[in-house]
């Protein structure tokens, strides 16, 4: 192993300190520098700081962010979120491993170019299946495309992103506004390039408009989305814009003044295209009207509270936030209301925790306020880790001031002077925007000492998570902030009494804080007027899966599953049949299509065996195997168990063993009863929320789809998903085009031009490539062992 220069470690220690609680930031800095955590660095830290070998080893091996071996030049992250899973993420992963010739669990290719890793969720659910290579996102993948993708990535990298500086032309007169959504998922879809291209066009032509980045619009199925607002306030919306179309769209609405400028630009092919029919087409293709039925349906039932002004305001422009009533609620909380009054208001509003469990926020705040002690803390739980959920990321990225304001009001109410954001390290943009917003707030007197000239002070800072889903559990989150392994502990005592550094601590979720300013501005009663008897206000959901229109939505509590799926989402895509929605991610359950009239609120979902959870909502169709879905979620929670208590550490693994053997066709008589009993005991006996809710996906599918489990026990997967229980076969529709033979990654289909092809089932890995590639739809999936019969008939 090469010698490692430890100078950076010394610098990091000098910058971050040598106390035991800085171990996570220290390891993060080291990995940022060396791209992994070298053993030498760990040893050096033990010598130079108060951190012990036991501490640092425990922490460095607990959080999956930390790598202990050097990695390839580029890292390929394969998203295994729910939406990606149902759309074939594991097939993509297998294809990449084959392409890179990875064997026996290797993760880096022999040239050290690419390292392949699984990630829980990249939060680009509407692009599923998705991979990211060093920050570049590729969506809608298929196994057959991976070679091309790697090639494309390397080509981009070799060409580099060198840009010529453009000549800047300043526009004159009244300006229009061009809003480009720049949430992480929009960026993944290409809105960054669109934004850049528009800036360039404006600079080069002096077109009378200013480009503005805005937060998430929520219409992920339409991204990149560009909104043009004329000086008169007229709005035009363009969807699925790509960078090449952007100039035409802009110049058509905002014509540059002066002929010379137009001539100057006419060399560009864009203006040529502007005149051509082709461009006309392209404009028509992209233009959508907010009154269009689908858009109406998508936006109609929504109610934007946490996401107020979505798609309209620049996330980090404080002045714009102030113009939109920003910090009015905080002023009211400081100048007009006593802490007790604030809590009474929150209590009256009926607000409940949006992190999933739905604990009444007013009660929690009152408990922290009532707890003895001068020193108290407020924490913002931004460790959103459910696969298929990215609401909190969107809120943090798009409305950083709103969340800060909510936290400040909470701090004022409970009597805290210091607070922390705990944000997943996988959300770099969220971290960046919150950091920027905190700095600006401190400069402008909304944070720090004597906020808005009162006696109220609040310091906020950020702690980045390190890849441990369980840290979304509040006691684990606290352990993580303290620099320990993120192990939950038994409650009581609750954090309200004994939290961060044993002090009374308020822990609320991002969305909960985001709703607080609205409540104080509009009154508790307005909030309570929305929703159902026990679940007030709105809830933000990430709608994804087998649906026409996916995205982020905010709806009043009490809308039905059917409204969300059919009305907002436009129903199931691809002519398939709606089967169920999975609500609440790995802690939640499936609501079957027959119960789609169920109103979405805390109690009703619990009755169904699902939970509100943090708000992932994945639509499943008849091609989805419910046993596989249960196994998928259980594998996730099992993988994220902290490993402390027996029921969760071993119990979830044994449940997974049973599900594995059922999916592999080795299920035994009595397995369903054993699974059911164990699931209930794991749920009853685990000490934290992760273990208690981990069995939910299994219990709810056992409840509503037991026949599917029984079919598996009989060796059949009704949806044709479980590889061990299916065969692929080529039917008589085959015209002998040889595409499948060429694409088959394991040469299981002999090359036979103009003849009916056949699949060698011994070699076949059920990767689905032939089925996807066949232009004649001549490849079918059928239950294992029935191919012989098929042939006999043919």
């Amino acid at each position: 192993m090469p010698e490692i220069d430890l100078q950076f470690v010394d610098e990091a220690i000098a910058r971050l300190g040598n106390r035991r609680d800085v171990v996570i930031p220290l390891l993060q800095a080291i990995q940022g520098h060396y791209r992994y955590v070298p053993r030498e660095a760990i040893e050096w830290i033990c010598l130079q700081t108060e951190i012990t070998p036991a501490d640092i080893t425990g922490v460095a091996t607990f959080y999956t962010q930390f790598r202990h071996r050097p990695v390839g030049k580029y890292i390929i992250s394969v998203c295994h979120g729910t939406a990606c899973h149902v759309k074939g993420a594991s097939l993509v992963q297998d294809a990449l491993a084959r392409q890179l010739h990875l064997q026996n669990g290797e993760d880096t290719d022999s040239e050290g170019l690419f390292t392949l890793e699984k990630v829980a969720c990249l939060g680009c659910c509407t692009l599923a299946p998705v991979i990211q290579i060093d920050g570049v996102t590729y969506g809608h993948l298929a196994p057959a495309m991976v070679g091309e993708v790697l090639h494309d990535f390397l080509e981009r990298h070799q060409n580099g992103a060198v840009r010529k500086a453009a000549k800047i032309v300043k526009p004159s007169g009244e300006l229009g506004e061009i809003r480009v959504g720049l949430g992480s998922c929009c960026v993944a879809q290409g809105s960054g390039q669109v934004h850049e291209r528009i800036e360039r066009v404006l600079a080069e032509t002096g077109a009378p408009a200013a480009v503005k980045r805005v937060g998430c619009v929520g219409m992920c199925h339409q991204t990149p989305l560009v909104e043009l607002v004329s000086p008169g306030g007229k709005v035009k919306l363009f969807s699925k814009v790509n960078a090449d179309d952007a100039p035409a769209i802009v110049l058509k609405t905002f014509k540059p003044k002066g002929l010379h400028r137009r001539i100057a630009y006419s060399v560009s092919r864009f203006l040529d295209r502007l005149a051509s029919d082709e461009t006309g087409d392209s404009l028509a293709r992209h233009a959508i009207d907010a009154r269009d039925p689908p858009v109406c349906a998508f936006l109609g039932p929504q109610k934007h509270l946490a996401t107020e002004y979505c798609g309209q305001i620049d996330p980090t422009d404080l002045d714009e936030y102030l113009r939109h009533d920003g910090f009015k609620a905080l002023r009211r909380a400081i100048e007009e209301l006593s802490p007790e009054k604030i809590i009474a208001e929150i209590d009256l509003s009926g607000l409940r925790g949006r992190g999933g469990a739905g604990f009444p926020s007013g009660k929690k705040w009152a408990a922290v306020r009532a707890a003895a002690g001068e020193l108290k803390y407020v924490l913002c739980n931004g460790d959103e880790g459910d696969p298929g959920a990215f609401m909190d990321r969107m809120l943090l990225e798009s409305f950083p001031y709103r969340i800060i304001e909510g936290m400040a009001i909470a701090a004022r109410a409970v009597g805290a002077g210091e607070g922390f954001f705990y944000i997943r390290a996988e959300y770099p943009l969220a971290v960046k925007r919150i950091r920027e917003a905190i700095e600006i707030c401190e400069r402008r007197g909304f944070l720090g000492e004597k906020i808005v000239d009162s006696d109220f002070s609040l310091r906020l800072s950020i702690k980045e998570g390190a890849g441990a889903f369980v840290c979304g559990e509040e006691t684990a989150l606290i352990a993580s902030i303290e620099g320990r392994r993120g192990m939950p502990r038994l409650r009581p005592p609750f954090p309200a009494q004994c939290g961060l550094w044993q002090k009374p601590t308020l822990v609320n979720n991002v969305e909960t804080y985001a709703l607080v300013p609205w409540i104080l501005r509009n009154g508790a009663k307005s909030f309570a007027a929305l929703g159902t008897a026990a679940s007030k206000g709105t809830k933000v959901f990430a709608l994804a899966g087998k649906i026409r229109r996916g995205g982020l939505i905010e709806v009043p509590m009490g809308v039905t599953v059917a409204q969300v799926v059919e009305e907002i989402g436009g129903g199931v895509a691809g002519g398939r049949k709606f089967k169920a929605v999975q609500i609440g991610g790995p802690s939640g359950g499936c609501v079957p299509a027959e119960l789609a009239e169920t109103p979405i609120d805390y109690e009703k979902l619990a009755e169904m065996g699902a939970i509100m959870g943090s708000g992932g909502l994945v639509v499943l169709d008849d091609a989805d195997c419910m046993v596989d879905i249960a196994r998928y979620f259980l594998r996730f929670t099992q993988d994220h168990s902290c490993g402390k208590c027996t029921f969760c550490r071993i119990g979830t693994r044994r449940m997974l063993d049973i599900l594995d053997r059922i999916c592999e066709g080795h299920g035994k008589h009595g397995d369903l009863e054993l699974l059911d009993e164990l699931a209930r005991q794991v749920s009853a006996g685990s000490i934290c929320g992760l273990g208690r809710t981990a069995p939910n996906p299994v219990l709810s599918t056992l409840r509503y789809f037991r026949a599917e489990y029984e079919a598996h026990l009989a060796g059949r997967c009704p949806s044709g998903k479980c590889k061990a229980l299916i065969d692929y076969r080529i039917t008589d529709d085959c015209i002998g085009c040889t595409l499948c033979a060429q694409q088959c990654p394991v040469d299981a289909i002999p090359f036979a031009p103009y003849q009916k092809h056949a699949i060698d089932l011994e070699k076949c890995t059920r990767c689905d490539t032939c089925l996807q590639i066949c232009p004649e739809k001549a490849v079918v999936v059928e239950p294992k062992g029935e191919g012989g019969r098929g042939k006999a008939e043919g």
Binding site: C46, A54, I56, R485, T646, G651, A684, G685
Partner: protein, 527 residues
């Protein structure tokens, strides 16, 4: 003071008492593995769960403080089922043999490893006591047994099985050659009488163990001398008759009546049933032909008995050995005699007749290759040697000691201290209920006195806590997360470096002997 109710019994305890502590005051033993007085409760094993106020969630008693009016359920079917599951889950990932493979492959279930350690330590008096606890005719069996125990010996695949059978014979021969051969202490005479038909290995063993248990035995044999199939099926070269005679004499010394040349017909059998409190048919496979005369049901193989209990369908009549099995190894017959004696004892004491209860154990199962080499790391290097004086002579003491020390100590060093085993036995936990993928065996033997077997660890973290509190420089830590979390020495150091101050405390705290004294359970007899 806080007033609470546990299993419908009210009591008052000081505020802050845990449910575990409160239950103890009522004499309710809530099982717990990870809890230790003086350490922070980790609430990780969850074997101590209780139900509180009818809540669907169960709570760990070790970390739950009492609250006024709390209603606690401890000894209910639901709570017990959850505790059993917790134990079974721990067992499903527990890599260790409570009792060695040789123990279970010996039909008589003799504690072979303990005998071997006693021989190695020169404690031959202790060794014969160990042997005779389960085998009444060791000098005999030491000559004619096919030694299934040696087939299961883990050392067999490395450099030959430990010479268990010859060593047992060595122990017995040495004993018989002493002026006062070993005699067990018998229970006080109960006044109950047992008739035993047949003086072969089954009948002799039964007589020995019944006599030990305080019963007056009468052996009735149709032949002119005792020995049964031992006389018919062996040559004097294989089994010198004086050895057989000496060992039978040792049994007879416990006090019993022997009636030779007694043929038992239906009338005589009925008479026995009238005069004795129990009758054991141990008259070999020929007894099958007399089933009608004895008034008991039979199958084609032999007399029909309840499996493991040896009870026939006729009241107070038992049958064992080849009378039941048709044919079997001699050691199987001897084991049957011992087990039937246990069943008869239960019957005569008026207890539930269960037969001999198999001791609880977890099993690693087969090991080979690298894994087996790792397992045998640090074992005595001697290879298997036959007696220099020839098989007929047997080992001399030095040879015996150096052969005995070859034992790999497969049985657990913490057999009697292990809380997992203790509660698994009490709660009837089935180690195979959640059988999963078996981990590979690893051990850290680099500490001078303490052996660390991570496969036995239940991740309670007590040792980590104790080492951290004591300021051990290297100490111990959890490595990894979730199912794969393991207690380990950080930075790839070894246990000797990790525990320089508090090794003894850690061994004492370890609930499953994952950390154990290398030399423990050397010669202890109690089980």
């Amino acid at each position: 003071m806080t007033k609470i109710t546990i299993d419908n019994r009210e009591l008052e305890v000081p505020a802050g008492t845990t449910v575990l502590g409160a239950a103890r005051q009522l004499g309710i033993e809530i099982p717990s593995l990870c809890y230790r007085e003086g350490c922070d409760a980790s609430a990780s094993c969850l074997v101590c769960v209780v139900k509180i106020n009818g809540n669907a969630r169960l709570a760990p008693a070790c970390a739950t403080a009492v609250e006024e009016g709390m209603m606690i359920e401890s000894e209910t079917a639901e709570v017990h089922a959850a505790r059993r599951t917790a134990l079974e889950l721990l067992l499903s990932d527990h890599l260790g043999d409570c009792l060695a493979p040789c123990f279970f492959s010996c039909p008589a279930e003799m504690d072979i490893p303990v005998m071997l350690r006693q021989i190695a330590a020169g404690d031959l008096r202790g060794a014969i006591a160990t042997v005779k606890r389960d085998i009444a005719l060791p000098a005999v069996l030491g000559r004619i047994c096919p030694a299934p125990c040696e087939k299961a010996c883990r050392r067999r695949e490395l450099d030959g099985a430990v010479a268990i059978c010859l060593l047992k014979r060595f122990v017995a021969d040495v004993d018989l050659a002493t002026a006062e051969p070993y005699l067990p202490v018998c229970e006080t005479a109960s006044g109950r009488k047992v008739a035993i038909l047949g003086g072969g290995p089954t009948g002799l063993a039964a007589a020995y163990y019944l006599a030990r248990a305080g019963y007056a035995c009468t052996i009735l044999d149709e032949n002119a001398e005792l020995g049964g199939r031992l006389l018919r099926e062996t040559t004097p070269e294989e089994l010198p008759r004086e050895v057989l005679a000496a060992e039978i004499a040792q049994i007879a010394r416990l006090g019993m009546e022997v009636q030779l040349n007694r043929k038992i017909n239906a009338a005589a059998f009925n008479d026995l049933c009238g005069r004795f409190d129990a009758v054991l048919i141990a008259a070999g496979h020929a007894a099958r032909e007399q089933a009608d005369a004895f008034g008991v049901a039979a199958t084609t193989k032999g007399i029909h008995v309840e499996h493991g209990i040896f009870r026939t369908d006729r009241p107070k009549v038992f049958a064992a050995g080849t009378a039941v099995r048709g044919k079997s190894m001699v050691v199987r017959s001897a084991a049957d005699g011992k087990e039937a004696a246990a069943a008869i004892d239960q019957f005569l004491r008026g207890a539930t007749v269960t037969g001999q209860i198999r001791p609880f154990t977890t099993k690693i199962g087969r090991m080979e290759g690298e894994e087996l080499l790792r397992f045998a790391e640090g074992a005595a290097p001697d290879t298997r040697e036959e007696p220099t004086g020839g098989l007929a002579e047997g080992y001399v003491p030095d040879e015996a000691a150096s052969q005995a020390v070859r034992c790999l100590h497969c049985d657990c060093r913490g057999l009697h201290a292990c809380k997992l085993r203790k509660y698994s036995a009490i709660y009837g936990a089935d180690p195979k209920r959640f059988k999963g993928h078996r981990r590979a065996f690893v051990q850290d033997a680099q500490h001078a006195e303490v052996l660390f077997e991570p496969g036995k660890c239940i991740d309670c973290g007590l040792c980590i806590q104790i080492a951290a509190k004591a300021g051990e420089e290297i100490g111990l830590t959890f490595v990894g997360r979730g199912f794969d979390v393991r207690v380990a020495v950080p930075l790839d150091r070894h246990l000797g470096e990790a525990l320089q101050k508090v090794a003894a405390e850690c061994v004492a705290a370890c609930p499953t002997a994952a950390l154990a004294w290398k030399a423990s359970r050397g010669v202890d007899l109690a089980d």
